[in-house]
Amino acid sequence: MTRFVPFEWIAAVRFLRDGRMQSVLIIVGVGIGVAVIVFMSALLSGLQANLIRRTLSAQAHIVVLPPEDVARPLFDPARAVPTVQKQAQRLRSIDQWQKVRERLARLPGITAISPVAAGPAFAVRGDANKSITLIGIVPEHYVRVIALDDKLVAGRLRVGAGEAVIGTELARDLGATVGDKLRVVAGSGATDTLTITGLFDLGNKGVNERNVYVGLKSAQSLLDLVGGVSSLDLAVSDIYAAETLAEAIAGETGLKAESWIRTNAQFFTALSSQRISSNVIRFFVGLSVAFGIASVLVVSVVQRAKEIGILRAMGASRGQIMRVFLLQGGIVGLLGSLLGSSLGWLFLALWRSLAKNPDGTPLFMITVEPGLFALAAGGASAVGILAALVPARRAARLDPVVAIRG
């Protein structure tokens, strides 16, 4: 008996040690439950982070666009039922985009704003003729929204006058590489000859085939948007709040604001339902862990009825008895979660070594956060104490006379 350790701790630990087989079995049971939760959580958050990273690698979190052109009938709609044909949308600039940018910069949650002038064009080289999206950027702003500089596979991110950075697919289609020339023809008929300064791979075939990055000024003149931008691309700090923020921006500026959540609605729904289903699984695993702990403690209360009666006869209060059993629940939960965290970590290590791409690189990155283990330990201890409530109350309410008589 260690000095200064309270009676309840001493009794709880001794009771658990005394019923060794029971204790070991339930701790292993809790451990397996915790391992499943830890493994699943880490796998899922790794998978989701990876999917989101891939999705957002070629996409701004929010794109702010000019409002749509709306056809306005000139006659009185009260006297005639008009059939209004939807108007074709032309490429327009955001009205006074510098002011809009200043207003957006004051909003919380936005980490970067990049003006973009983008529009359709053709890339021509020799006999090859490809449809492209010409994107005029200011590199130092743009890379804070889309990490284009990290995605370069050749050359440099340099888009001065007469320079362009193109995707690997387009380069292959045109048979061009860094240093080669490329002619760009815009819809208006404006044309320019550009030197390829870099090749990027944004991990998306369509984007690699289509996007051609040039300087903002080049794009403005080619697309007939002099001084204007077709969109403001934003990066935000909380990607899950992007839609709410986009709505706020639309309300505030009167412009159109599209979040990545809206543009990838199906993907986002898939992520959410995956999260919900994993939460349901975690909840039920937690529940079965709780029932396991509770059932073992209920049996233990029955087995120890006489000892509880004796302790009560010796002057132990109901509260002391109750705490002895609550603590047993907590200790089982804590030890189980330590075991479970180690098991979970082992599973993850095993998974990492098995789930690999053919080239030996990991299928996707799983980062195991220490917080997950702390959460598992805290959560399992709390579940243990909660599960022990019923048996502990039962133990505390035992009538010593009945318990001793047995």
């Binding site: 260690t2 000095r3 200064f4 001493i10 000892e307 006869a313 002057g315 209060s317």
Partner: protein
């Protein structure tokens, strides 16, 4: 030997009945006084209410009618927690099946009432438990787990445990009922020795007339009523 001035226990017209619909009265108006240093036997046939009476005296149960005084204090008005505290401080129990807690050693079992009362173990507690075990002749076995001791040894540990809080009253329910004659004799001798040395009051429930004959006072309970309460003239 009894000290007429100090009243350890007084029962005044104590009744106890069980059952909700049909009530069965087990004790019918018990009046009883135990004084400091008394060594009394409570005898009677099975079902006469001995255990019920012992539970009431030990504050493990409350009477249906009448009053229980411990050292002059009326226990009727005390709540559960206060009753538990009073029981822990003033009353020691020795049961027939000794009921040590098997998860603990002999020494720890003796420490248990002190631990429960004070919350944390300390050196003084350990020293007192060791000296009590020494007194019952079990110093060498103090670190044995409870179930590694013989029946007689376990009962000795239980006696040491009952004395841990230096109670004024020790209640023993068939303390030798589960032991062979030799062990029973030595356990009884030990109870007597403690009684003489520290003037602790003992009330011993027994079936064994041989044992009762060695007590100073014999209280006989039949059908919930005390039919005889006499000093044991044989010992005077």
């Amino acid at each position: 030997m009894a000290d007429a001035s100090a009243e350890v226990l007084r029962l005044a017209d104590v009744h106890k009945s069980y059952g909700d619909g049909v009530r069965t009265e087990v004790l019918h108006g018990i009046d009883l006084v135990l004084r400091k240093g008394e060594f009394a036997a409570l005898i009677g046939p099975s079902g006469s209410g001995k255990s019920t009476l012992l539970n009431l005296i030990g504050l493990l149960d409350r009477p249906s009618g009448g009053k229980v005084f411990i050292e002059g204090r009326d226990t009727g008005g005390l709540d559960d927690a206060a009753l538990t505290r009073l029981r822990g401080m003033r009353i020691g129990f020795v049961f027939q099946y000794h009921y040590l807690i098997p998860a603990f050693t002999a020494l720890e079992n003796v420490m248990m009432p002190m631990l429960v009362a004070r919350g944390r173990p300390d050196a003084a507690m350990r020293a007192r438990a060791a000296s009590l075990l020494d007194r019952v002749g079990l110093a060498p076995q103090q670190d044995n787990k409870a179930n590694a001791l013989s029946g007689g040894q376990q009962q000795r540990v239980a006696i040491a445990r009952a004395l841990a809080m230096a109670p004024t009253l020790v209640l023993a329910d068939e303390p030798t009922g589960n032991l062979d004659t030799h062990a029973a004799d030595s356990v009884f001798a030990l109870l007597r020795e403690v009684n003489v040395a520290s003037h602790t009051t003992f009330l011993i429930v027994t079936h064994d007339p041989r044992l009762a004959a060695r007590c100073d006072r014999i209280i006989e309970l039949v059908d919930g009523t005390i039919v005889a309460d006499r000093p044991n003239e044989a010992r005077r």
